[in-house]
Subunit: 230 residues, 2 copies
C-alpha cells in the first residue's frame, strides 16, 4: 500500500554563515577486561585473524582464553593483561570499574564529524548503550641491560568501523602511561615490514624500529621434539 503524501515541510530557518559543522558526540572508556569479557575478546581476536589473513593459525576458543588469560593468583600487569576500549553515545555511569584498585578507567570525550554506522553493535554490546570497540593485550617483558621490566604489546585491534579515529593510539598510550607509572623501561611490539603506513606512524610517535633483529619461533612438532630430547 502506498504511503500517504507527506505534509508540506516547514520552511527551514536560514543557517547563520558562522555555524559549526554538525558533530556526533562519543564517550570512550579504557578499562581492565574481566573474565566476563571473554566472548567479546574471542570475537575481536578472530576478526584480527581475518584482517591479517591468518585464520589458518587461529585455534583459540573461549575456554582456552578463559583458562589462560585470567589467573586468580597473578595481579593485573604482572602477567597477561587486557585493556578494553568501549564507546557510548552517553556518559558512562559510575560502575565497579571505577573502584578497581589496580586501574582507574581512562575516559575521553570525542566529537566525530561523521556518525559511526556499526553493523555489529548488538554483537559487541557490553552493557546498555555501551559497545566494545577494540582491545590491547600486553604483558611484562624484561631487559637485562636496563635491569628492569617493560611491557610487550602482543595485540592491538580496533574494529573496522572505528578505525582512523585515533582509538588505536589511545590504547597504545594507555599501555605507555601504565609503563611510565610503574617505572618500566620500555614498551615493545612488532610490525610487518611491508606495513609502511604503520611503521611511519610508529616512528612519528618516537619508536625505534629494530631492523636487524629477527624473531625465531619453535612451535608445533619441532617444539615437542626438541623439548622432549635429551
Amino acid at each position: 500500500m502506498a504511503a500517504a503524501a507527506p505534509p508540506p515541510a516547514p520552511t527551514p530557518a536560514p543557517e547563520p554563515a558562522t555555524s559549526l559543522p554538525e558533530t556526533t558526540p562519543l564517550f570512550t572508556r579504557i578499562r581492565l577486561a574481566t573474565p566476563s569479557d571473554v566472548p567479546h575478546i574471542h570475537k575481536l581476536i578472530h576478526q584480527m585473524a581475518v584482517f591479517e589473513r591468518l585464520t589458518h593459525l587461529f585455534s583459540a576458543t573461549e575456554s582456552s582464553l578463559s583458562a589462560t588469560l585470567f589467573s586468580p593468583t597473578v595481579l593485573p600487569f604482572n602477567s597477561f593483561t587486557i585493556f578494553l576500549l568501549e564507546a557510548s553515545p552517553n556518559p558512562f555511569p559510575v560502575s565497579t570499574f571505577d573502584s578497581n584498585p589496580f586501574f582507574k578507567p581512562l575516559t575521553k570525550f570525542v566529537n566525530l564529524s561523521v556518525p559511526i554506522e556499526d553493523p555489529e553493535r548488538d554483537t559487541f554490546k557490553s552493557m546498555d548503550n555501551v559497545t566494545v570497540v577494540g582491545f590491547v593485550l600486553f604483558f611484562p617483558n624484561y631487559s637485562t641491560f636496563l635491569g628492569k621490566p617493560g611491557f610487550y604489546v602482543e595485540d592491538l585491534f580496533v574494529r573496522e568501523c572505528y578505525r582512523r579515529k585515533g582509538f588505536g593510539k589511545m590504547l597504545l598510550s594507555a599501555v605507555a602511561k601504565q609503563a611510565v607509572a610503574m617505572g618500566y623501561g620500555r614498551v615493545e611490539w612488532v610490525v610487518l615490514d611491508w606495513n609502511v603506513n604503520a611503521i611511519k606512524f610508529y616512528e612519528e610517535m618516537g619508536a625505534d624500529v629494530l631492523n636487524e633483529w629477527r624473531i625465531c619461533r619453535l612451535t608445533g612438532e619441532a617444539l615437542q621434539a626438541y623439548g622432549g630430547a635429551d
Copy 2:
C-alpha cells in the same frame, strides 16, 4: 738462575693402537637461579654486553636486578625466570636444589676431548669446585591465536671458554622441555640478521625465522613523552 738440567725422561710405554683419546670428565647441572646468584648473573650480563659491543646500553646493577628479578609473590615460570648452568669436575652433591618443588635440576655428564682452561674460575665459583658457566633468562608470553602462553627467551649466554660444546643448546633445550611440560605452545627469541651461523643452527633445530616481522621499541624520553601525553 738457570734451571738444572732435567733428568732424562723415562722411555714411554708404547701406546696400543686401539687406545681411546684421553678425555676430561665434566659434570653439568641446570638449576633455577636464586637471589644469591645475582652477583654472578650481573657479571654474565655484563660479559654479554661486551660480546655484543653494547656496553653503552648496559645500565643494570646488582640491586636493580635483585629488585626486579625475584618477586616473592610470583612463582617461577609465571614471570621472569633464570636457569643457571654450572659445571664441576666431580658429581654434584645432593643439595636443597634437588628438592625445589618447581624445578628438579637437570644434570648431565660430558666427556671433553680438551680440558677447559677457565681464567675466571674463582670469579664464577658458586660452591666448592662448582663454576657458573652460563644462563638463560625467559618469561611467559602469549599467543592470542593459539589461546595459550609460550616462553620468550630474552637472553642466552655461555662464558667464552665453555663455548662450542653444546652448552647453549642444553640451556635452550631446558626451556623447551619446560614449555612442553607446561603445555605451552611456543618458545620464541630473537637473533641478529647478520648472525648467519646462529640462524643456521636455529633452523636446523626446527625453528622458524620470521623474516617479515620487525620489533618496535618505545623507550627513554619518547616513552616518557608518549606515556605522559593525553
